[in-house]
Amino acid sequence: MPVDIWLIFLLSFMILGSIVALEIKDILSSIVAIGVVGLAVSTAFLILQAPDLAIVQFLFEIFALIILVRAFIRKDYHQLEPARLGRLTAALTALTLIAVFAFSVHAFKGLPEFGRPTLATAQYYLDHAGQQVKSANIVSAVVLDYRAYDTLGEVTVLFTAILGTFTILRVRKAKKEGGEK
């Protein structure tokens, strides 16, 4: 099936791209390489029939790139000689993660196979969203009518994170000379 082949190709490209992005020494190149990985995720969302998510992922990832580039490019940045925390720590971490991966194969065998989900609650939403909510976009109906409480929580979390950003950077409304410490 073409969908499987496309997804395997995109996932291998993402793994390779993220390894390259995190081993490069230049900051601008590694931020751009993360952008390429995000673009591959957006293409994978398109192949998996989720156009809402493809739009949102693409645009938010561009915005994350802009934030990272504006924050980190104008600094006086020195290159670090050894890039990781010591060879023994790195080898032990790699061995532990490979063991976790080997044990997880058994766990993934217990899931329903790819392409045949158990639509327990979602079948109700798909059948009744046209009549009860009268909205053509079912994902919007789920986010803003059936599960609107979660969207309220998400608006609060976004507001708090941006407020935290302002507080950490100590944005003041009127600039004072000799401000308090």
Binding site: P51, A83, G115, A136, I138, V139, A161, L169
Partner: protein
């Protein structure tokens, strides 16, 4: 199942880089990679073979559609991760302000 394992391998690559890098910027980028892997895994759980996107159109109101619940969850998750990345970038700027370096082995004391 190969697809699920590849997605989990992407998550583990991000986790390995998060735990063994000394540079604060690389740590922020690795947490972004882990976020991408988790979102992709959730949408992979909801795919149905031969189904179309969950939007009703005029001529096609009773077709087989993919699961809309993981898509709603991942929509929330993408937005929140952007807020978290902005806050991490602000923290990294303040740390550079105080210690003049991005190396985490040199940032040792909790200074105000």
């Amino acid at each position: 199942m190969i697809i699920y394992l590849l997605c989990f391998a992407l998550f583990l690559v991000g986790l390995y880089e998060l735990m063994t890098k000394r540079d604060l910027i690389k740590i922020i980028l690795a947490s972004g990679i882990m976020g991408y892997a988790v979102n992709l895994m959730l949408v992979l759980f909801g795919y149905r073979r031969g189904a179309v996107y969950p939007i009703l159109e005029k001529g096609r109101e009773a077709a087989a559609m993919v699961d809309p619940l993981p898509q709603a969850l991942v929509l929330t998750s993408i937005v929140i991760e952007l807020g978290t990345t902005a806050m991490l970038a602000a923290l990294a700027i303040r740390l550079f302000n105080k210690y003049k370096t991005f190396d985490i082995t040199k940032i040792r004391r909790l200074r105000g």
